[in-house]
Symmetry: C2
Subunit: 253 residues, 2 copies
């Protein structure tokens, strides 16, 4: 048993959480043995934890296959999160406004360690599923939103992040060169926005700017995704940047 020495650490609870975290995008429905494999816990432990989570309404169970699935309670937790984060309520009406005015996908992203997480999304018809639902995490350095948020931090932090934060090659064209990325962050600092293409998806242009408080730190980023077939980067800046900057400025204004 993994032992962090910490007299207040409740390993039983941590083991239960491992079960919850075993579910993701590509692990939708898991059997007891799947859970054993994914968590590395004892079979009996998994049995007890999953059973308890089921009784507590955190896991659904298919009566036929006996597989476990996430329950509606997982959405209730998101609901509580939304209320708890004050930026959400301020950003949402502005994003809706943009979405209805422009008809293009717009998102709110936040920094979460060395990743970004999308906390609000207003997709349009062309948006694919993974980009339509909240809670997706992506390596910050690989995204326009991550870079522009990072650009508001100190030089030391930027240098550290560019050297150490993780990168994932999502497309053939995903930028993996850390110097290039550092350059992109530097221009984001100059410009107040960051634009990138083909990073997470081919033929996708992503444009992002920060939601900045009085402290000058980025609390979040507002980001739009556009088709790289319909637009080139210059057109994107012309057509969308002014409105996007207004949207972002309106959130904490």
């Amino acid at each position: 048993m993994e032992k962090k020495y910490d007299s207040l650490y409740v390993s039983t609870l941590a083991r239960g959480l491992q079960i919850l975290r075993a579910f993701d995008e590509s692990h939708i429905s898991l059997s007891l043995t799947d859970l054993v494999a994914r968590t590395g816990l004892e079979k009996s432990a998994v049995q007890r934890m999953a059973h308890t989570l089921h009784l507590e309404g955190m896991l659904e169970r298919d009566p036929k296959t006996r597989h476990f699935r996430p329950s509606h309670a997982w959405l209730e937790l998101a609901y509580a999160y939304y209320w708890s984060d004050p930026i959400i309520a301020r950003a949402l009406p502005k994003l809706i406004e943009f979405s209805q005015a422009k008809g293009e996908t717009i998102n709110l992203a936040q920094i979460s360690g060395d990743h970004i997480i999308y906390s609000l999304r207003l997709p349009n018809q062309r948006t694919h599923f993974a980009a339509s639902i909240v809670g997706r995490r992506l390596p910050a350095l690989n995204t326009a939103a991550g870079r522009v948020m990072l650009s508001t931090r100190s030089d030391a932090e930027i240098a550290y992040a560019c050297a150490n934060w993780p990168l994932v090659q999502a497309t053939r064209k995903t930028l993996m060169d850390r110097d290039e990325i550092a350059r992109s962050v530097r221009s984001a600092r100059e410009d107040g926005y960051c634009i990138a293409r083909d990073q997470m998806l081919l033929n996708e242009i992503s444009l992002a700017t920060t939601v900045t408080g009085t402290d000058g730190q980025a609390h979040a980023a507002v980001q739009i995704s556009l088709s790289g077939i319909t637009f080139d980067e210059k057109q994107v800046l012309e057509k969308f940047l002014p409105t996007l900057l207004d949207t972002a400025a309106g959130i904490l204004g």
Copy 2:
């Protein structure tokens, strides 16, 4: 200590979950003592659980006030949920289509015990915050979506539900008469849709229809909210019902 007699029940895990569930719409940020009050657990237990949840990334902690808040992980769980429920991916493009065509708020709701839960929402400018974010639970009988989903069940189930499921008086005009509600469910069965006004919010008209599988059971409901000042019920049916029925039919079609 509350003892369900069940040799597989891990009470420590259940206690940890109680901490998570202590957060909701009106409990955004909780101190140790708040958590003690809300969960009824021992102070030491709360200390240990909250500490562990913090280390595991499930709770954020304000370094100044020492209060706990939900973390981004709560959104990640929602992300996993979205992938796990097959109806979500099928419904989303249809809802987007409706939203962009009509410019009105549209939601996907599902039955969760005796409540409904909103699992997808596409709000417009006029939508207030609570109605814009997913994961909200409402008593099924008080909502058009809940009634129309219930209407696809057996007579016995309907009778039981109308007699026993909870009701909450959200507005002065919320329907609290169980016979009236039963009548509303019966017409929903006839009509294939349910319309209601002033139920959760004054001057709000809600129109819902089911997403029905080959088994005839409602897997979900598609619901729209409209201003009762701009429209009357007759206009709503004329202007929106056909499209809404198409939207719902397209989901499992």
